[in-house]
Structure formats: C-alpha cells, structure tokens
C-alpha cells in the first residue's frame, strides 16, 4: 500500500464539466480499483456525475472499464478521463 501522484487528463465533455484539461492528484492510494478512482474523481468534480454511463477511463493509454478491476498505477502515470454525451 502506497500513495501516488497521478496526472489526470480530461477530454471533451469531461473537460467542460471539470473546467480543467489536466490536473495532478496527490496521495492516490494504490492498489485502487477503477471504480474507486472514478469515485475519487467524482468527489473532486461532482458535475462529472452528468456523464453517467458514458464515461470512459484509460490508464497508460489503455481503456479500463469502471468496476472492480484493480489498477496498478505507477508514480506520475497519466490517467485519462474522457467522456462523451449520449447522442440525442
């Protein structure tokens, strides 16, 4: 168990909702599941909740589903949060 510094990139609608394109998270616990990480992002940016099921996460340029999957994060990893709204 360790704490890490993680870079989060936001794209498209997620960047609009958070108001930032990139931010640094310090003291991210590891190991962490993708669901826990998403919850952590929602605490920082409650408006991300608007994305609901449309959110897509990627870690080290690999897509990850939001669920129990444990992410092995390295210090300074890029984590990408991107999202699109559903087609209306």
């Amino acid at each position: 168990m360790a704490d890490l510094r993680v870079i989060v990139l936001y794209f498209a609608k997620s960047a609009e909702l958070t108001g930032v394109k990139e931010e640094e998270l310090v003291a991210v616990p590891t190991p962490i599941s993708s669901l826990e990480l998403w919850t952590l992002l929602l605490q920082r940016h409650p408006r991300l909740r608007l994305l609901q099921d449309q959110v897509v996460l990627a870690v080290r340029q690999q897509y990850v589903a939001i669920g129990d999957q444990v992410l092995t994060l390295g210090d300074g990893d890029e984590e990408v949060v991107d999202a699109v709204s559903s087609a209306s």
């Binding site: 794209f11 609608k13 990627a58 340029q61």
Partner: protein, 148 residues
C-alpha cells in the same frame, strides 16, 4: 514485395483541410490493383430544431496513435492481403461539407480492401479517442458519440 513495399500504417491528425490525393498517394503500390477510400464529411443537419453549422474535433493524440496501430494489426489479421493503410483526421473546427476524416487502403484485389475500409471506419469511431462537438446556429453546442 520490394523493400519500399513494406506495409505502411500512416496516421495523421491535422488542423488543415484534408487532401484526398495525399491519402491515396500514401497507399499506392505497383502490387495493388485496388484502392478503397472513405471520406467522412460534416453533414448539414438539424438537431431539435437547431441547425448544425460545424463540428469541433478533439483527440487524445498519443493514445489515438496507439489505438490506430492496434486497429491496423486487427485489419491485417483479418485481411492479410491489405498492403498500405492511411488515415488522416481533422482536429479543431470543421465546417459543414468539409471532410473530417479521409482514409485509404490498398490491396492487390478489390474485395479485401472494400471489406477492410468498412471495418476501419467502424472501429476508428468505436475505439480511437477522438471526440466531436456539434455546434449549432443558436451558438449552442453538444458533445456527441463519435459512432455515427
């Protein structure tokens, strides 16, 4: 194949107007009798009574490159005769009737290339991290699934 005929996978994200000729030239080969091409353009459309005047594209560029390489591997596994693959995608503002994507695939015979180009555009939209925002004549805008 000669050395110059090593299979090429060419991917370019561009803020400029896309040249169809450039995409076609990138895949041309003396060993190929067929070049299949697809061009996606911004369509004049209405959405809830608002008129679409253009699209704004954004990409996670590094990841788009790596997803494109995976897509090329997938295409070559399914259609081994595919020779060269080239995809150019616009970023930023693309107004109605301009091309947002132009792609070409060369193959010795046409059938494989025609199947492969359909798979290429479907998978590009499904897996390559490029997002589009519809911009309306009302000054409003909304991010869209890239699936269409």
């Amino acid at each position: 194949m000669t050395a110059s005929e090593e299979p090429r996978n060419v991917f370019k994200l561009s803020r400029d107007w896309l040249s169809v000729q450039e995409v076609v030239d990138a895949v041309s080969s003396a060993s190929c009798g067929a070049i299949s091409v697809f061009i996606g353009t911004t369509r004049e459309d209405e959405c809830d009574g608002r008129k679409v005047i253009g699209l704004e594209y954004e990409a996670y560029e590094l990841m788009a490159q790596s997803e494109f390489r995976k897509l090329c591997d997938d295409i070559r596994a399914r259609w081994p005769t595919v020779t060269h693959i080239c995809v150019h995608h616009r970023l930023g503002w693309v107004k109605v009737s301009e091309a947002s994507v132009a792609m070409a695939i060369s193959s010795p015979h046409r059938h494989d290339g025609q199947q492969a180009i359909q798979h290429c555009i479907n998978q590009l939209k499904a897996s390559v991290p490029i997002w589009k925002k519809e911009v309306y004549d009302t000054q409003e805008a909304s991010w869209k699934e890239n699936a269409e």
